[in-house]
Symmetry: C2
Subunit: 200 residues, 2 copies
């Protein structure tokens, strides 16, 4: 049991935040994801620019995020996993966004990033804790003599999955499956649970 499980958040346990912000605000430009713009820093600057233009404050986004529910079955999956393994969520999101999602998931441990917010309530900028934080977290856990199994759904999880002792894809888009045939593909929570624990 010397294992830690690292899980991506959006797409694995929760719906995609920005797609829902785009829907609720009616601003289609916010649908742009890392699939369209692989440079996450550039993508975030683009999103923050749009929020300013549209006069959307942090608390407006938090309100949308507060309406998001875990993906069907995600909460039960995570609860079951935490009862038998140490779990850390590794996400490119921001603590300022994550709070209602963590509450919905009973406060698992989360390693993610930060926002700089102006006194006026507008987001000034984002701050990545470090470059390639997901992979770095897996490697740090390995220096603590843990074996790591990791699960994610998309391109921004690949370095994490590669660094882990076992990497698993969950409901990935077809191009990710094609590009990274080395990872087991799971499409249900029971299958993901089994891949992460061997059923033990």
């Amino acid at each position: 049991m010397s294992e830690v499980i690292c899980l991506d958040l959006e797409g694995v346990l929760m719906p995609e935040v920005w797609i829902n912000v785009a829907k609720k605000t009616g601003i289609a430009e916010l649908k742009r994801t890392t699939r369209d713009e692989p440079d996450y820093d550039k993508l975030m600057r683009y999103r923050i620019g749009i929020l300013h233009r549209e006069k959307i404050r942090l608390k407006d986004i938090q309100k949308v995020i507060g309406t998001l529910k875990p993906l069907p079955g995600a909460k039960a999956f995570l609860t079951r996993l935490r009862a038998c393994r140490q779990v850390i969520i590794l996400s490119d999101t921001f603590y300022e966004f994550a709070e209602p999602m963590m509450k919905a998931l009973d406060y698992p441990t989360l390693f993610c990033n930060f926002l700089n917010v102006k006194a006026s309530g507008y987001i000034r900028s984002h701050r990545m804790r470090q470059h390639n934080g997901k992979e770095q977290s897996v490697r740090a856990l390995q220096t603590l003599k843990f074996r790591v199994r990791a699960a994610g759904d998309s391109y921004n999880d690949i370095t994490m999955l590669k660094a882990a002792n076992r990497g698993v894809l969950f409901c990935p888009p077809p191009n990710v499956v094609k590009d990274f045939p080395q990872f087991q593909v799971t499409r249900t929570y029971p299958a993901l649970f089994k891949a992460l624990t061997d059923g033990r």
Copy 2:
């Protein structure tokens, strides 16, 4: 909020496991702690030897641990802390002992050690994940660009408290206070909460 809080388990959130095992089994020799024998490896081999002699199996100890409740106020303190900070429990205990304690605390993330258990149910030996695991964990979190605040109650927490960006003692024995005057001493959960969060 780029902070992770590291907490010792026994003495900070839960009662001391071995003192309670000693009480429930009536074997006074099991009361020996790191205060009497600072070499934890030696102490654990001594304890495991006594368990063999007295024919006490892992499941007997687990039964005792299952009766332990968090220290009064500990659960509410931890719940409040997890709602505003990332928390990791750093303990010298073993996952095989910790499970009922983690359940009682709503499954916070725990970094600890392992037991080798014989098919007969007796503990064969203990396995420390690594030397000085608490300090190593703090340092690994710092490589992930987290600031770390840590709290513990006794000598085996000192290297962790020293490595942390801020170290806090919680209900320490008088000799620890005397030997390490550099650490803030707290004696209630509200005071500990404030020391770990600055009330923010």
